[in-house]
Symmetry: D2
Subunit: 143 residues, 4 copies
Protein backbone atom coordinates (compact mmCIF):
# COMPACT_ATOMS: atom_id res chain seq x y z
CA UNK A 1 0.00 0.00 0.00
CA UNK A 2 1.45 3.32 -1.11
CA UNK A 3 1.84 5.99 1.57
CA UNK A 4 -0.01 9.21 0.72
CA UNK A 5 0.32 11.07 4.03
CA UNK A 6 3.28 10.96 6.40
CA UNK A 7 3.24 11.55 10.17
CA UNK A 8 3.53 15.31 9.77
CA UNK A 9 0.67 15.50 7.25
CA UNK A 10 -1.54 13.34 9.47
CA UNK A 11 -0.78 15.54 12.48
CA UNK A 12 -1.68 18.70 10.55
CA UNK A 13 -4.89 17.03 9.35
CA UNK A 14 -5.87 16.18 12.95
CA UNK A 15 -5.44 19.80 14.01
CA UNK A 16 -7.70 20.97 11.22
CA UNK A 17 -10.44 18.35 11.44
CA UNK A 18 -10.57 17.53 15.16
CA UNK A 19 -9.86 20.81 16.94
CA UNK A 20 -11.42 19.41 20.13
CA UNK A 21 -9.13 16.42 20.51
CA UNK A 22 -6.00 16.89 18.44
CA UNK A 23 -3.85 17.68 21.49
CA UNK A 24 -4.70 14.22 22.88
CA UNK A 25 -2.88 12.42 20.08
CA UNK A 26 0.60 12.39 18.57
CA UNK A 27 1.36 10.49 15.37
CA UNK A 28 4.67 8.77 16.15
CA UNK A 29 5.21 7.24 12.74
CA UNK A 30 3.63 5.82 9.62
CA UNK A 31 4.67 2.16 9.52
CA UNK A 32 4.87 -0.37 6.71
CA UNK A 33 1.36 -1.65 7.50
CA UNK A 34 -0.30 1.25 9.37
CA UNK A 35 0.56 3.89 11.96
CA UNK A 36 1.78 4.22 15.55
CA UNK A 37 -0.05 6.83 17.66
CA UNK A 38 0.45 8.09 21.22
CA UNK A 39 -2.34 9.08 23.60
CA UNK A 40 -0.90 11.92 25.68
CA UNK A 41 -2.66 10.96 28.88
CA UNK A 42 -4.37 13.81 30.73
CA UNK A 43 -6.82 14.07 33.62
CA UNK A 44 -9.84 13.93 31.32
CA UNK A 45 -8.84 10.40 30.20
CA UNK A 46 -8.59 8.96 33.69
CA UNK A 47 -10.81 6.93 35.99
CA UNK A 48 -10.43 6.92 39.77
CA UNK A 49 -7.06 5.30 40.56
CA UNK A 50 -5.34 7.05 37.68
CA UNK A 51 -6.02 4.40 35.06
CA UNK A 52 -7.04 5.39 31.52
CA UNK A 53 -10.79 5.00 30.91
CA UNK A 54 -12.38 2.63 28.41
CA UNK A 55 -13.78 5.45 26.24
CA UNK A 56 -10.31 7.04 26.05
CA UNK A 57 -8.83 3.72 24.86
CA UNK A 58 -11.67 3.31 22.37
CA UNK A 59 -10.98 6.86 21.14
CA UNK A 60 -7.29 6.08 20.71
CA UNK A 61 -7.99 2.94 18.65
CA UNK A 62 -10.59 4.79 16.58
CA UNK A 63 -8.28 7.72 15.75
CA UNK A 64 -5.30 5.44 15.07
CA UNK A 65 -7.21 3.32 12.54
CA UNK A 66 -8.65 6.47 10.94
CA UNK A 67 -5.14 7.85 10.50
CA UNK A 68 -3.87 4.49 9.21
CA UNK A 69 -6.55 4.53 6.51
CA UNK A 70 -5.90 8.19 5.62
CA UNK A 71 -2.15 7.51 5.39
CA UNK A 72 -3.00 5.21 2.45
CA UNK A 73 -5.97 6.93 0.76
CA UNK A 74 -5.21 10.59 1.49
CA UNK A 75 -7.24 13.16 3.47
CA UNK A 76 -10.80 11.78 3.26
CA UNK A 77 -12.47 13.42 6.23
CA UNK A 78 -15.66 11.48 5.64
CA UNK A 79 -14.44 7.97 6.39
CA UNK A 80 -16.62 6.70 9.24
CA UNK A 81 -16.31 3.84 11.73
CA UNK A 82 -18.98 1.21 11.18
CA UNK A 83 -17.86 -1.40 13.73
CA UNK A 84 -15.38 -1.76 16.56
CA UNK A 85 -14.77 -4.84 18.65
CA UNK A 86 -12.48 -4.04 21.56
CA UNK A 87 -11.07 -6.29 24.29
CA UNK A 88 -9.77 -4.82 27.52
CA UNK A 89 -7.15 -7.18 28.88
CA UNK A 90 -5.05 -5.47 31.54
CA UNK A 91 -5.24 -2.29 33.57
CA UNK A 92 -3.09 0.46 32.01
CA UNK A 93 -0.20 1.67 34.17
CA UNK A 94 -1.24 4.85 36.00
CA UNK A 95 0.28 8.12 34.82
CA UNK A 96 1.77 6.70 31.63
CA UNK A 97 0.91 7.48 27.98
CA UNK A 98 -0.67 4.77 25.84
CA UNK A 99 0.87 3.64 22.53
CA UNK A 100 -1.35 2.22 19.77
CA UNK A 101 -0.11 0.21 16.79
CA UNK A 102 -2.73 0.20 14.03
CA UNK A 103 -2.32 -2.34 11.21
CA UNK A 104 -4.47 -2.37 8.07
CA UNK A 105 -5.56 -5.86 7.00
CA UNK A 106 -7.82 -4.85 4.13
CA UNK A 107 -8.23 -1.63 2.20
CA UNK A 108 -11.12 -2.27 -0.13
CA UNK A 109 -13.24 -0.10 -2.37
CA UNK A 110 -15.84 0.55 0.32
CA UNK A 111 -14.49 -0.98 3.56
CA UNK A 112 -11.18 -0.90 5.40
CA UNK A 113 -10.47 -3.38 8.22
CA UNK A 114 -7.59 -3.36 10.67
CA UNK A 115 -6.34 -4.23 14.15
CA UNK A 116 -5.05 -2.02 16.94
CA UNK A 117 -2.77 -3.16 19.75
CA UNK A 118 -2.56 -0.82 22.76
CA UNK A 119 0.28 -0.76 25.31
CA UNK A 120 1.28 1.40 28.26
CA UNK A 121 4.35 3.31 27.03
CA UNK A 122 7.47 1.24 27.69
CA UNK A 123 5.64 -1.98 28.69
CA UNK A 124 5.38 -5.27 26.80
CA UNK A 125 2.02 -6.54 28.03
CA UNK A 126 -1.01 -5.60 25.91
CA UNK A 127 -3.56 -3.37 27.65
CA UNK A 128 -6.20 -3.72 24.95
CA UNK A 129 -6.78 -4.84 21.38
CA UNK A 130 -9.39 -3.67 18.91
CA UNK A 131 -10.57 -4.42 15.39
CA UNK A 132 -12.21 -1.61 13.47
CA UNK A 133 -14.05 -1.36 10.17
CA UNK A 134 -14.18 1.96 8.36
CA UNK A 135 -16.57 2.79 5.55
CA UNK A 136 -14.77 4.75 2.86
CA UNK A 137 -16.75 7.43 0.99
CA UNK A 138 -17.24 6.72 -2.73
CA UNK A 139 -14.98 9.45 -4.13
CA UNK A 140 -12.67 9.50 -1.11
CA UNK A 141 -14.23 12.94 -0.53
CA UNK A 142 -10.92 14.77 -0.66
CA UNK A 143 -10.97 17.46 1.96
CA UNK B 1 -33.54 -10.93 38.16
CA UNK B 2 -34.19 -9.13 41.42
CA UNK B 3 -33.60 -5.36 41.44
CA UNK B 4 -31.07 -4.30 44.11
CA UNK B 5 -30.58 -0.65 43.11
CA UNK B 6 -33.21 1.69 41.67
CA UNK B 7 -32.61 4.72 39.42
CA UNK B 8 -31.98 7.01 42.38
CA UNK B 9 -29.46 4.65 43.98
CA UNK B 10 -27.65 4.19 40.65
CA UNK B 11 -27.50 7.98 40.16
CA UNK B 12 -26.03 8.48 43.64
CA UNK B 13 -23.50 5.73 42.98
CA UNK B 14 -22.38 7.45 39.75
CA UNK B 15 -21.79 10.71 41.58
CA UNK B 16 -19.62 8.96 44.14
CA UNK B 17 -17.62 6.67 41.85
CA UNK B 18 -17.30 8.68 38.64
CA UNK B 19 -16.98 12.30 39.76
CA UNK B 20 -15.48 13.20 36.36
CA UNK B 21 -18.40 12.06 34.24
CA UNK B 22 -21.51 11.73 36.37
CA UNK B 23 -23.06 14.94 34.98
CA UNK B 24 -22.96 13.39 31.48
CA UNK B 25 -25.46 10.69 32.40
CA UNK B 26 -28.97 10.48 33.80
CA UNK B 27 -30.53 7.17 34.82
CA UNK B 28 -34.05 7.40 33.40
CA UNK B 29 -35.32 4.14 34.79
CA UNK B 30 -34.51 0.60 35.83
CA UNK B 31 -36.45 -1.64 33.45
CA UNK B 32 -37.57 -5.24 33.66
CA UNK B 33 -34.43 -6.43 31.84
CA UNK B 34 -31.92 -3.62 32.37
CA UNK B 35 -31.79 0.17 32.49
CA UNK B 36 -32.49 3.22 30.33
CA UNK B 37 -29.85 5.97 30.47
CA UNK B 38 -29.63 9.44 28.89
CA UNK B 39 -26.44 11.07 27.62
CA UNK B 40 -26.88 14.77 28.29
CA UNK B 41 -25.09 15.94 25.18
CA UNK B 42 -22.53 18.71 25.69
CA UNK B 43 -19.80 20.28 23.58
CA UNK B 44 -17.19 17.79 24.77
CA UNK B 45 -19.16 14.91 23.21
CA UNK B 46 -19.40 16.45 19.76
CA UNK B 47 -17.53 16.15 16.50
CA UNK B 48 -17.50 18.93 13.87
CA UNK B 49 -21.05 19.23 12.51
CA UNK B 50 -22.57 18.81 15.96
CA UNK B 51 -22.87 15.04 15.87
CA UNK B 52 -22.03 12.97 18.95
CA UNK B 53 -18.58 11.34 18.71
CA UNK B 54 -17.91 7.58 18.64
CA UNK B 55 -16.09 7.60 21.99
CA UNK B 56 -19.04 9.41 23.61
CA UNK B 57 -21.43 6.73 22.28
CA UNK B 58 -19.08 4.00 23.45
CA UNK B 59 -18.96 5.67 26.87
CA UNK B 60 -22.75 5.79 27.03
CA UNK B 61 -23.09 2.07 26.21
CA UNK B 62 -20.36 1.20 28.70
CA UNK B 63 -21.91 3.16 31.56
CA UNK B 64 -25.42 1.91 30.76
CA UNK B 65 -24.40 -1.76 30.87
CA UNK B 66 -22.38 -1.15 34.04
CA UNK B 67 -25.46 0.35 35.69
CA UNK B 68 -27.67 -2.47 34.40
CA UNK B 69 -25.37 -5.02 36.05
CA UNK B 70 -25.18 -3.03 39.30
CA UNK B 71 -28.96 -2.69 39.38
CA UNK B 72 -29.04 -6.50 39.77
CA UNK B 73 -25.92 -7.29 41.83
CA UNK B 74 -25.65 -4.15 43.96
CA UNK B 75 -22.86 -1.56 44.16
CA UNK B 76 -19.81 -3.54 42.97
CA UNK B 77 -17.47 -0.79 41.85
CA UNK B 78 -14.94 -3.31 40.57
CA UNK B 79 -16.92 -4.81 37.70
CA UNK B 80 -14.85 -4.21 34.55
CA UNK B 81 -15.61 -4.29 30.83
CA UNK B 82 -13.77 -7.11 29.09
CA UNK B 83 -15.24 -6.77 25.58
CA UNK B 84 -17.41 -4.40 23.59
CA UNK B 85 -18.54 -4.84 20.02
CA UNK B 86 -20.24 -1.68 18.78
CA UNK B 87 -21.89 -0.92 15.43
CA UNK B 88 -22.42 2.66 14.31
CA UNK B 89 -25.39 2.70 11.98
CA UNK B 90 -26.70 6.24 11.54
CA UNK B 91 -25.48 9.74 12.33
CA UNK B 92 -27.02 11.02 15.57
CA UNK B 93 -29.25 14.08 15.21
CA UNK B 94 -27.24 17.23 16.04
CA UNK B 95 -28.00 18.95 19.32
CA UNK B 96 -30.14 16.14 20.74
CA UNK B 97 -29.49 13.89 23.76
CA UNK B 98 -28.91 10.18 23.21
CA UNK B 99 -31.02 7.50 24.90
CA UNK B 100 -29.54 4.06 25.62
CA UNK B 101 -31.55 0.94 26.44
CA UNK B 102 -29.33 -1.67 28.09
CA UNK B 103 -30.67 -5.23 28.36
CA UNK B 104 -28.95 -8.00 30.32
CA UNK B 105 -28.90 -11.36 28.52
CA UNK B 106 -26.78 -13.26 31.01
CA UNK B 107 -25.78 -12.58 34.58
CA UNK B 108 -23.40 -15.37 35.46
CA UNK B 109 -21.07 -16.03 38.34
CA UNK B 110 -18.11 -14.37 36.62
CA UNK B 111 -19.46 -12.78 33.40
CA UNK B 112 -22.41 -10.59 32.50
CA UNK B 113 -23.43 -10.08 28.86
CA UNK B 114 -25.93 -7.63 27.45
CA UNK B 115 -26.98 -5.45 24.52
CA UNK B 116 -27.36 -1.69 24.24
CA UNK B 117 -29.54 0.08 21.71
CA UNK B 118 -28.84 3.81 21.24
CA UNK B 119 -31.27 6.37 19.80
CA UNK B 120 -31.38 10.13 19.34
CA UNK B 121 -33.98 11.31 21.86
CA UNK B 122 -37.44 11.20 20.29
CA UNK B 123 -36.39 9.29 17.15
CA UNK B 124 -37.17 5.70 16.13
CA UNK B 125 -34.12 4.86 14.02
CA UNK B 126 -31.21 3.23 15.84
CA UNK B 127 -28.01 5.29 15.90
CA UNK B 128 -25.83 2.51 17.28
CA UNK B 129 -25.95 -0.90 18.94
CA UNK B 130 -23.40 -2.51 21.23
CA UNK B 131 -22.83 -5.79 23.06
CA UNK B 132 -20.76 -5.67 26.22
CA UNK B 133 -19.25 -8.27 28.52
CA UNK B 134 -18.49 -7.37 32.11
CA UNK B 135 -16.28 -9.38 34.42
CA UNK B 136 -17.79 -9.53 37.90
CA UNK B 137 -15.43 -9.56 40.87
CA UNK B 138 -15.55 -12.78 42.97
CA UNK B 139 -17.12 -11.35 46.11
CA UNK B 140 -19.02 -8.61 44.29
CA UNK B 141 -16.60 -6.31 46.13
CA UNK B 142 -19.35 -4.36 47.82
CA UNK B 143 -18.33 -0.72 47.86
CA UNK C 1 -39.25 -2.44 5.21
CA UNK C 2 -41.30 -4.06 2.47
CA UNK C 3 -41.29 -7.86 2.33
CA UNK C 4 -40.09 -9.18 -1.05
CA UNK C 5 -39.76 -12.89 -0.21
CA UNK C 6 -41.97 -14.90 2.14
CA UNK C 7 -41.01 -18.02 4.10
CA UNK C 8 -41.82 -20.31 1.18
CA UNK C 9 -39.79 -18.26 -1.31
CA UNK C 10 -36.83 -18.16 1.11
CA UNK C 11 -37.01 -21.92 1.61
CA UNK C 12 -37.03 -22.55 -2.14
CA UNK C 13 -34.08 -20.17 -2.53
CA UNK C 14 -32.09 -22.11 0.10
CA UNK C 15 -32.66 -25.38 -1.75
CA UNK C 16 -31.38 -23.86 -4.96
CA UNK C 17 -28.38 -21.93 -3.63
CA UNK C 18 -27.16 -24.06 -0.70
CA UNK C 19 -27.79 -27.66 -1.77
CA UNK C 20 -25.27 -28.85 0.86
CA UNK C 21 -27.02 -27.36 3.87
CA UNK C 22 -30.62 -26.57 3.05
CA UNK C 23 -31.96 -29.56 4.97
CA UNK C 24 -30.38 -28.14 8.14
CA UNK C 25 -32.66 -25.10 8.15
CA UNK C 26 -36.36 -24.39 8.13
CA UNK C 27 -37.74 -20.87 7.68
CA UNK C 28 -40.49 -20.66 10.28
CA UNK C 29 -41.72 -17.21 9.38
CA UNK C 30 -40.87 -13.79 8.02
CA UNK C 31 -41.46 -11.37 10.89
CA UNK C 32 -42.08 -7.63 11.02
CA UNK C 33 -38.37 -6.94 11.52
CA UNK C 34 -36.63 -10.05 10.18
CA UNK C 35 -37.07 -13.82 10.11
CA UNK C 36 -37.33 -16.80 12.46
CA UNK C 37 -35.34 -19.89 11.43
CA UNK C 38 -35.02 -23.39 12.89
CA UNK C 39 -31.85 -25.47 12.95
CA UNK C 40 -33.01 -29.06 12.59
CA UNK C 41 -30.37 -30.54 14.85
CA UNK C 42 -28.59 -33.61 13.50
CA UNK C 43 -25.52 -35.61 14.50
CA UNK C 44 -23.21 -33.47 12.37
CA UNK C 45 -24.05 -30.38 14.48
CA UNK C 46 -23.21 -31.97 17.81
CA UNK C 47 -20.25 -32.04 20.15
CA UNK C 48 -19.63 -34.84 22.66
CA UNK C 49 -22.45 -34.68 25.23
CA UNK C 50 -25.05 -33.97 22.57
CA UNK C 51 -24.77 -30.20 22.66
CA UNK C 52 -24.86 -28.17 19.43
CA UNK C 53 -21.37 -27.03 18.35
CA UNK C 54 -20.22 -23.41 18.07
CA UNK C 55 -19.78 -23.59 14.27
CA UNK C 56 -23.34 -24.93 13.91
CA UNK C 57 -24.69 -22.00 15.95
CA UNK C 58 -22.58 -19.58 13.94
CA UNK C 59 -23.95 -21.15 10.76
CA UNK C 60 -27.51 -20.75 12.01
CA UNK C 61 -27.02 -17.04 12.81
CA UNK C 62 -25.30 -16.49 9.46
CA UNK C 63 -28.06 -18.14 7.42
CA UNK C 64 -30.82 -16.45 9.42
CA UNK C 65 -29.42 -12.95 8.86
CA UNK C 66 -28.82 -13.74 5.18
CA UNK C 67 -32.46 -14.78 4.82
CA UNK C 68 -33.63 -11.72 6.77
CA UNK C 69 -31.78 -9.47 4.31
CA UNK C 70 -33.07 -11.37 1.28
CA UNK C 71 -36.63 -11.19 2.61
CA UNK C 72 -36.32 -7.39 2.17
CA UNK C 73 -34.12 -6.98 -0.92
CA UNK C 74 -35.09 -10.08 -2.91
CA UNK C 75 -32.93 -13.01 -4.05
CA UNK C 76 -29.41 -11.50 -4.12
CA UNK C 77 -27.23 -14.57 -3.87
CA UNK C 78 -24.09 -12.45 -3.67
CA UNK C 79 -24.66 -10.76 -0.32
CA UNK C 80 -21.66 -11.73 1.85
CA UNK C 81 -20.98 -11.65 5.59
CA UNK C 82 -18.26 -9.16 6.44
CA UNK C 83 -18.37 -9.38 10.26
CA UNK C 84 -19.96 -11.49 12.97
CA UNK C 85 -19.62 -10.99 16.69
CA UNK C 86 -21.15 -13.92 18.55
CA UNK C 87 -21.53 -14.53 22.29
CA UNK C 88 -22.09 -18.04 23.62
CA UNK C 89 -23.98 -17.74 26.89
CA UNK C 90 -25.49 -21.08 27.86
CA UNK C 91 -25.14 -24.69 26.79
CA UNK C 92 -27.92 -25.67 24.37
CA UNK C 93 -30.26 -28.39 25.59
CA UNK C 94 -29.15 -31.75 24.17
CA UNK C 95 -31.29 -33.28 21.44
CA UNK C 96 -33.39 -30.17 20.84
CA UNK C 97 -33.61 -27.94 17.74
CA UNK C 98 -32.37 -24.37 17.95
CA UNK C 99 -34.57 -21.39 17.08
CA UNK C 100 -33.00 -18.16 15.77
CA UNK C 101 -34.73 -14.77 15.67
CA UNK C 102 -32.95 -12.46 13.25
CA UNK C 103 -33.79 -8.75 13.41
CA UNK C 104 -32.55 -6.17 10.87
CA UNK C 105 -31.39 -2.90 12.45
CA UNK C 106 -30.10 -1.23 9.31
CA UNK C 107 -30.59 -1.95 5.63
CA UNK C 108 -28.34 0.52 3.87
CA UNK C 109 -27.17 0.91 0.31
CA UNK C 110 -24.04 -1.18 0.87
CA UNK C 111 -24.31 -2.64 4.38
CA UNK C 112 -27.00 -4.44 6.37
CA UNK C 113 -26.66 -4.90 10.15
CA UNK C 114 -28.76 -7.03 12.44
CA UNK C 115 -28.94 -9.11 15.60
CA UNK C 116 -29.70 -12.80 16.11
CA UNK C 117 -31.03 -14.33 19.31
CA UNK C 118 -30.70 -18.13 19.58
CA UNK C 119 -32.78 -20.36 21.89
CA UNK C 120 -33.20 -24.08 22.45
CA UNK C 121 -36.69 -24.84 21.10
CA UNK C 122 -39.27 -24.29 23.82
CA UNK C 123 -36.88 -22.64 26.31
CA UNK C 124 -36.74 -19.01 27.45
CA UNK C 125 -33.05 -18.63 28.27
CA UNK C 126 -30.82 -17.37 25.45
CA UNK C 127 -28.19 -19.84 24.28
CA UNK C 128 -26.30 -17.34 22.11
CA UNK C 129 -26.57 -13.92 20.54
CA UNK C 130 -24.85 -12.60 17.42
CA UNK C 131 -24.55 -9.40 15.43
CA UNK C 132 -23.82 -9.71 11.73
CA UNK C 133 -22.94 -7.27 8.97
CA UNK C 134 -23.68 -8.17 5.37
CA UNK C 135 -22.23 -6.41 2.37
CA UNK C 136 -24.88 -5.98 -0.30
CA UNK C 137 -23.79 -6.21 -3.95
CA UNK C 138 -24.22 -2.94 -5.93
CA UNK C 139 -27.04 -4.06 -8.23
CA UNK C 140 -28.45 -6.59 -5.78
CA UNK C 141 -27.19 -9.13 -8.33
CA UNK C 142 -30.60 -10.69 -8.83
CA UNK C 143 -30.16 -14.43 -9.13
CA UNK D 1 4.19 -18.86 28.59
CA UNK D 2 5.46 -22.38 29.17
CA UNK D 3 4.47 -24.99 26.61
CA UNK D 4 2.63 -27.95 28.18
CA UNK D 5 1.46 -29.75 25.01
CA UNK D 6 3.32 -29.97 21.71
CA UNK D 7 1.82 -30.45 18.24
CA UNK D 8 1.72 -34.23 18.61
CA UNK D 9 0.00 -34.10 22.01
CA UNK D 10 -2.55 -31.59 20.70
CA UNK D 11 -3.27 -33.79 17.68
CA UNK D 12 -3.82 -36.85 19.90
CA UNK D 13 -6.10 -34.81 22.14
CA UNK D 14 -8.22 -33.74 19.15
CA UNK D 15 -8.69 -37.36 18.09
CA UNK D 16 -9.90 -38.27 21.55
CA UNK D 17 -12.15 -35.31 22.29
CA UNK D 18 -13.54 -34.36 18.86
CA UNK D 19 -13.97 -37.67 17.03
CA UNK D 20 -16.40 -35.98 14.61
CA UNK D 21 -14.04 -33.33 13.34
CA UNK D 22 -10.45 -34.27 14.10
CA UNK D 23 -9.71 -35.26 10.50
CA UNK D 24 -10.54 -31.69 9.43
CA UNK D 25 -7.59 -30.22 11.32
CA UNK D 26 -3.83 -30.70 11.44
CA UNK D 27 -1.68 -29.01 14.08
CA UNK D 28 1.30 -27.73 12.08
CA UNK D 29 3.27 -26.38 15.02
CA UNK D 30 3.16 -24.85 18.46
CA UNK D 31 4.66 -21.36 18.08
CA UNK D 32 6.21 -18.94 20.55
CA UNK D 33 2.87 -17.21 21.07
CA UNK D 34 0.26 -19.79 20.03
CA UNK D 35 -0.26 -22.46 17.38
CA UNK D 36 -0.52 -22.85 13.60
CA UNK D 37 -3.33 -25.12 12.38
CA UNK D 38 -4.35 -26.35 8.92
CA UNK D 39 -7.94 -26.89 7.76
CA UNK D 40 -7.77 -29.84 5.37
CA UNK D 41 -10.44 -28.57 3.02
CA UNK D 42 -13.08 -31.11 2.00
CA UNK D 43 -16.43 -30.95 0.24
CA UNK D 44 -18.33 -30.47 3.49
CA UNK D 45 -16.51 -27.13 4.07
CA UNK D 46 -17.38 -25.64 0.69
CA UNK D 47 -19.99 -23.28 -0.67
CA UNK D 48 -21.04 -23.23 -4.33
CA UNK D 49 -18.03 -22.04 -6.35
CA UNK D 50 -15.62 -24.10 -4.26
CA UNK D 51 -14.91 -21.44 -1.64
CA UNK D 52 -14.67 -22.38 2.04
CA UNK D 53 -17.84 -21.51 3.99
CA UNK D 54 -18.06 -19.01 6.83
CA UNK D 55 -18.93 -21.67 9.43
CA UNK D 56 -15.89 -23.72 8.37
CA UNK D 57 -13.63 -20.66 8.84
CA UNK D 58 -15.27 -19.94 12.19
CA UNK D 59 -14.67 -23.57 13.19
CA UNK D 60 -11.01 -23.32 12.20
CA UNK D 61 -10.47 -20.17 14.28
CA UNK D 62 -12.33 -21.71 17.21
CA UNK D 63 -10.32 -24.94 17.20
CA UNK D 64 -7.01 -23.10 16.68
CA UNK D 65 -7.54 -20.81 19.68
CA UNK D 66 -8.71 -23.78 21.78
CA UNK D 67 -5.51 -25.63 20.94
CA UNK D 68 -3.40 -22.51 21.58
CA UNK D 69 -4.88 -22.27 25.07
CA UNK D 70 -4.44 -26.00 25.75
CA UNK D 71 -0.83 -25.85 24.57
CA UNK D 72 -0.22 -23.54 27.56
CA UNK D 73 -2.57 -24.88 30.26
CA UNK D 74 -2.63 -28.58 29.39
CA UNK D 75 -5.57 -30.81 28.37
CA UNK D 76 -8.58 -28.96 29.84
CA UNK D 77 -11.43 -30.27 27.74
CA UNK D 78 -13.89 -27.94 29.41
CA UNK D 79 -12.56 -24.60 28.17
CA UNK D 80 -15.46 -22.97 26.29
CA UNK D 81 -15.69 -20.11 23.80
CA UNK D 82 -17.59 -17.16 25.22
CA UNK D 83 -17.13 -14.66 22.37
CA UNK D 84 -15.85 -14.57 18.81
CA UNK D 85 -15.64 -11.53 16.57
CA UNK D 86 -14.71 -12.58 13.05
CA UNK D 87 -14.11 -10.45 9.94
CA UNK D 88 -14.31 -12.01 6.49
CA UNK D 89 -12.08 -9.99 4.20
CA UNK D 90 -11.36 -11.91 1.01
CA UNK D 91 -12.71 -14.99 -0.74
CA UNK D 92 -10.54 -18.03 0.00
CA UNK D 93 -8.85 -19.57 -3.04
CA UNK D 94 -10.91 -22.54 -4.28
CA UNK D 95 -9.53 -26.01 -3.66
CA UNK D 96 -6.79 -24.89 -1.27
CA UNK D 97 -6.35 -25.64 2.46
CA UNK D 98 -6.62 -22.79 4.95
CA UNK D 99 -3.85 -21.97 7.43
CA UNK D 100 -4.68 -20.34 10.77
CA UNK D 101 -2.17 -18.59 13.04
CA UNK D 102 -3.57 -18.29 16.56
CA UNK D 103 -1.79 -15.91 18.96
CA UNK D 104 -2.61 -15.67 22.68
CA UNK D 105 -2.74 -12.09 23.99
CA UNK D 106 -3.90 -12.86 27.50
CA UNK D 107 -3.99 -16.04 29.54
CA UNK D 108 -5.71 -15.08 32.76
CA UNK D 109 -7.12 -17.01 35.65
CA UNK D 110 -10.60 -17.22 34.15
CA UNK D 111 -10.34 -15.80 30.61
CA UNK D 112 -7.99 -16.28 27.67
CA UNK D 113 -8.04 -13.85 24.72
CA UNK D 114 -6.29 -14.20 21.39
CA UNK D 115 -6.32 -13.41 17.66
CA UNK D 116 -6.46 -15.71 14.65
CA UNK D 117 -5.24 -14.80 11.18
CA UNK D 118 -6.48 -17.07 8.36
CA UNK D 119 -4.80 -17.47 4.94
CA UNK D 120 -5.27 -19.65 1.90
CA UNK D 121 -2.26 -21.97 1.95
CA UNK D 122 0.65 -20.36 0.14
CA UNK D 123 -0.96 -16.90 -0.20
CA UNK D 124 -0.06 -13.65 1.58
CA UNK D 125 -3.43 -11.90 1.63
CA UNK D 126 -5.56 -12.49 4.73
CA UNK D 127 -8.84 -14.29 4.12
CA UNK D 128 -10.25 -13.65 7.60
CA UNK D 129 -9.29 -12.56 11.09
CA UNK D 130 -10.95 -13.43 14.39
CA UNK D 131 -10.64 -12.61 18.07
CA UNK D 132 -11.81 -15.23 20.54
CA UNK D 133 -12.34 -15.32 24.28
CA UNK D 134 -12.23 -18.63 26.10
CA UNK D 135 -13.51 -19.20 29.60
CA UNK D 136 -11.14 -21.47 31.51
CA UNK D 137 -12.64 -23.90 34.03
CA UNK D 138 -11.57 -23.29 37.65
CA UNK D 139 -9.47 -26.41 38.16
CA UNK D 140 -8.48 -26.70 34.50
CA UNK D 141 -10.57 -29.87 34.59
CA UNK D 142 -7.75 -32.13 33.47
CA UNK D 143 -9.15 -34.69 31.10
Amino acid sequence: MQIKMDAEALGAFLVEVFPQVHTDFEVIEVTETGVRVRLVTADRHLRPGGTVSGPAMFGLADVAMYLAVLSRIGPAALAVTTNCSIDFMRKPVAGVDLICDAVIHKLGRVLAVGDCLIYSDGMDALVARATLTYSIPPKNGVF
